[in-house]
Subunit: 211 residues, 2 copies
Amino acid sequence: MTDRKQEILAAAVAIADELGLDAVSMRSVAERVGVTPMALYPHIGSKSALLDAMLEHLAGELLPAVAAGDSWREQLYGLAYAAREMSRRHPWAGILIFARPSVAGDAVRVTDVVYQGLLEAGVPEPEVPRLERLISTFVVGYALSETAGRFGTRDPRGTRGQLPDVPLPGHARLQRWLEEKRDWDEEFAADLRDLELIIEAKAQPPGGDDH
Amino acid sequence: MTDRKQEILAAAVAIADELGLDAVSMRSVAERVGVTPMALYPHIGSKSALLDAMLEHLAGELLPAVAAGDSWREQLYGLAYAAREMSRRHPWAGILIFARPSVAGDAVRVTDVVYQGLLEAGVPEPEVPRLERLISTFVVGYALSETAGRFGTRDPRGTRGQLPDVPLPGHARLQRWLEEKRDWDEEFAADLRDLELIIEAKAQPPGGDDH
DNA sequence: TCAGTCATGTATACAGTGTAGATTCTATAC
DNA sequence: GTATAGAATCTACACTGTATACATGACTGA
């Protein structure tokens, strides 16, 4: 990766962080770099390729978080929390991950860390890839829901639009809990603990190192 | 909702189904309706509002699926499968759900059905909203991953980009399973069964109707 | 039958997007 | 000092959403 390409990438990431992903245009990035829009093309190819590069940059940011822990629990929890923090640093991460899937490179290394963690937990080999997809789908989905506002606006209270006139027995019974202010850190932690239940249920004695 | 608005909405949905969400422009929709782009505005307000209406339309499609079952298992499984099928019918559903979160109306009714199912399963009231978010986040995330191609391109085999030169011990050990062709129907079913483990772990005796 | 009113559709225009194609500049090699 | 290569630029095109101004048609009251 040339210096110029790195510079362009950094400018694009900065704009997305500050003004949102929609503000990332060839013209805005070029202006930030101090150059004409067309000057970007020899370096990054196209806007689509630029977005792919931004995505790969995210995986690169995530990698340093995976070396720390030793137990599979520390590894997987550490990675999940790091992913969520990254999504808060770069609120455009989630949409990009879901919308532009085919990346390679560092993203594969992150996946590999999850594979290793699940194997070490004692999950049978044939189940590991599926569980990795289950977990990563949830973690990315949660992070995206949080930054995009899908949570927090779905309960009747605080919803902008009109409520249907039909009765909502579930909401009615849960009214007192729906009124409570949510702690999203705590909810994420609780969700991860629930996912750990699945891992433990799948784990076989040999290799499982319960504390 | 006036006839004209319904007609516009139907045209937008049809275009999104056939050509993808990016092909939905004021001009393409107007042409389909047989009218000038500006003629849409009195009816739908803006393109953003049109996308919101498309989203609400999805929730409306989902509702008929929720009345069938009687047990909470049938209800929740039925809803999950219906959501996934809807996402295959309208591949643009997932991105829209994640990217444009604040809807009301029919979407709230779908949420309410999940609340009722979890309550009937015996999940303690304070845990129900969180579990609903966990489940819906996964289901929508899975459906989106599938239609957007996030699955199926993440394993080294078949990835377009270059693999990093570092070793991938997890992938190496799982090589034989990663080479297998995946059955995404079966994987979704297995994931739901795993999520059911969480529900059952949370369920308290009174109200739990195990078969 | 005529005039007035109101809703609906149209036409034009503007600022923005990604990017193809042709041109100009700059810096190094001989 | 001239030739060559690489990088940046300029112009232009087809697209996007939508603000503004205008036309058209149907329906009402006299």
